[in-house]
């Protein structure tokens, strides 16, 4: 039971990182991406390959994963950020579809559908460390960085862009640079989460980095509250706990848990959008009619 709870807590911390970093793009900058799982995957494959081929050093894996995911996000985001709103959502959807195919087909790097197996346990300076401790530390550092960013000038710039992009630009803000930086930060964080995931699971394959996963991460942000520090973390814990909680209910057959979970997700999202459109921890005034 302890191992089960530790595993759940580790996954909650990893998905907390994913939700918190996506929130920087969605909640602060107003950039709605449904491709966060792509950068989660890039980080996972980068971290896994480093551990398999070079050294299973957790810190190095996280740094490399952040650089790969953050760097590639810049290459992909710079052209995509020229489009706004729903067009960016469509562009990110295209990226997600393309990446899923590439993850499946680039067998030399990703292992294809079979994935990468036998990823060594994480170590720091040759000493094995529990992934829960690593994930919680990374989560705290990312939340701290987000908090500092949100209360500073960069956070104001992102919120200005979210509220009125043309006015922000008219005040001398290079909005494309700010948005690219926000996306790079978010995707680098997703890369860190990916490396932790790979080291924790000892196995990764494309099924963890599909559109469903991106939508789940987006749901975590929306349920918890976009543009809040703690909301995405709460969303991650709630949405991860739901399937775990359902499995303890004796009247739901194990084979039906997936379907019940989908129905509950859908109902919860609908009710939330009606009664708390800003999410559980979001500003109640947001989303109300004037």
């Amino acid at each position: 039971m302890t191992a089960y709870l530790a595993n759940l807590a580790t996954l909650a911390a990893i998905f907390g990182i994913l939700a918190a970093t996506l929130n920087v793009a969605v909640g602060y900058a107003g950039i709605f991406s449904v491709a966060h799982a792509v950068f989660f995957g890039l980080g996972a494959y980068a971290g896994a390959q480093l551990a398999l081929l070079v050294v299973p050093d957790a810190l190095l894996a996280m740094v490399v994963a952040a650089l790969v995911a953050g760097g590639l996000s810049l290459c992909l985001a710079l052209p995509a950020l020229r489009v706004r709103g729903e067009y960016f959502v469509a562009a990110s959807l295209g990226l997600q579809m393309m990446a899923t195919t590439l993850f499946t087909e680039a067998k030399g790097l990703t292992g294809g559908m079979g994935g990468l197996v036998g990823i060594p346990r994480p170590m720091i300076l040759g000493v094995e460390v529990p992934t829960l401790a690593l994930a919680l530390t990374a989560l705290v550092l990312i939340l701290l960085a987000t908090w500092l960013m949100a209360r500073g000038s960069f956070g104001r710039t992102l919120r200005a862009i979210r509220d009125a992009e043309s006015a922000a630009e008219a005040l001398g803000k290079n909005i494309n640079a700010a948005k690219a930086l926000a996306v790079a930060f978010a995707c680098a964080g997703a890369g860190v989460a990916g490396a932790l995931f790979a080291l924790h699971m000892s196995f990764v394959n494309v099924e963890s980095f599909t559109l469903d996963q991106s939508v789940l991460i987006m749901a975590m942000v929306i349920v918890g509250g976009t543009g809040t520090l703690w909301g995405p973390l709460l969303g991650a814990v709630l949405l991860l706990s739901l399937p775990a909680g359902l499995s303890f209910l004796p009247f739901i057959p194990p084979t039906e848990i997936g379907a019940v979970q989908q129905i509950l997700y859908g109902a919860a999202m609908t009710l939330l959008m009606i009664f708390r459109p800003a999410g559980l921890l979001g500003d109640m005034r947001t989303g109300r009619k004037a």
């Binding site: 960069f154 104001r156 509220d163 043309s166 005040l171």
Partner: protein, 248 residues
């Protein structure tokens, strides 16, 4: 018409949207330290002219220059960093930010995690802008919660805090009551006295008469007349166009 006497100059600016010639060969010069009002009926091309100058639109022909340097091809943020601030008809406030954050954001042009320059000086500029616009007591209110006139003054506070030397104001006094309008006029006069060059789009001719040193009258994308306020406002032919009484 360039340099110190006329910092912002438009030469033969033109743009069409499909078959509509929104601005046709407009040449205008903003006299330094003066207030130029753009007057004309709806659809005359006044806001389009602002958009061409600030880089929100690319001209089909002609160019705008600032201190003799072409603004052609510059993005709006690059034009803003050269000292040109603008307001919008629909205000475009940062609605979910506080009044103070709105003004503070206008002082922060850097796009990275830090800002160049003195943070205390920026904060002082913000407080000055809020005091000048009468918004100090509302500094912690969200922009979306303000009354209409307060929102108008917040858009002016952002421009004040931005420390631009040329202001392009798009209908800044529309919808204001008499008292607010007087406050607004005082704000503009004070800025003008500090040497700020102002170009104003305004439908309220009382405001125009009170503030403008010069008026440019536009219709259907063309400048029909430029001159002193009294001469333009007394012109019966222009008045007929303005009030929609001309023959088709």
């Amino acid at each position: 018409m360039s340099g110190a006497a006329h910092p912002l100059v438009c030469r033969d600016l033109s743009i069409s949207f499909g078959g509509v010639k929104a601005v046709q060969g407009v040449s205008l010069a903003l006299p330094a330290g003066k207030v130029l009002a753009l007057v004309g009926p709806n659809g005359a091309g006044k806001t389009t002219l602002f958009n061409l100058v600030t880089g929100n639109l690319r001209a089909d022909a002609g160019e705008a220059t600032l201190d003799g340097e072409s603004l052609l091809g510059l993005k709006p943020w690059q034009v803003a960093r050269r000292g040109v601030a603008r307001s919008f008809q629909d205000l475009r406030l940062f609605t979910h930010m506080t009044v103070r954050e709105n003004a503070m954001s206008a002082t922060e042009r850097g796009s990275w995690f830090w800002q160049a320059g003195d943070a205390k000086a920026r904060a002082a500029r913000v407080e000055e802008a809020l005091a000048a616009t009468g918004l100090s007591d509302l500094a912690e209110s969200r922009a979306v919660d303000l009354a209409y006139a307060e929102r108008k003054f917040l858009s002016m506070a952002r421009i004040l805090a931005a420390e631009a030397r040329i202001w392009l104001l798009d209908e800044p006094a529309s919808g204001l009551d008499l008292s607010s309008r007087q406050r607004f006029a005082g704000l503009l006069r004070a800025a003008n006295a500090r040497g700020i060059t102002i170009c104003l789009i305004e439908h309220n001719l009382d405001v125009v008469a009170e503030l403008a040193d010069e008026i440019a009258f536009l219709d259907r994308g063309v400048v029909l007349a430029v001159g002193e306020p009294q001469a333009i406002l007394r012109d019966k032919a222009l008045a007929a166009i303005y009030f929609g009484e001309r023959a088709a």
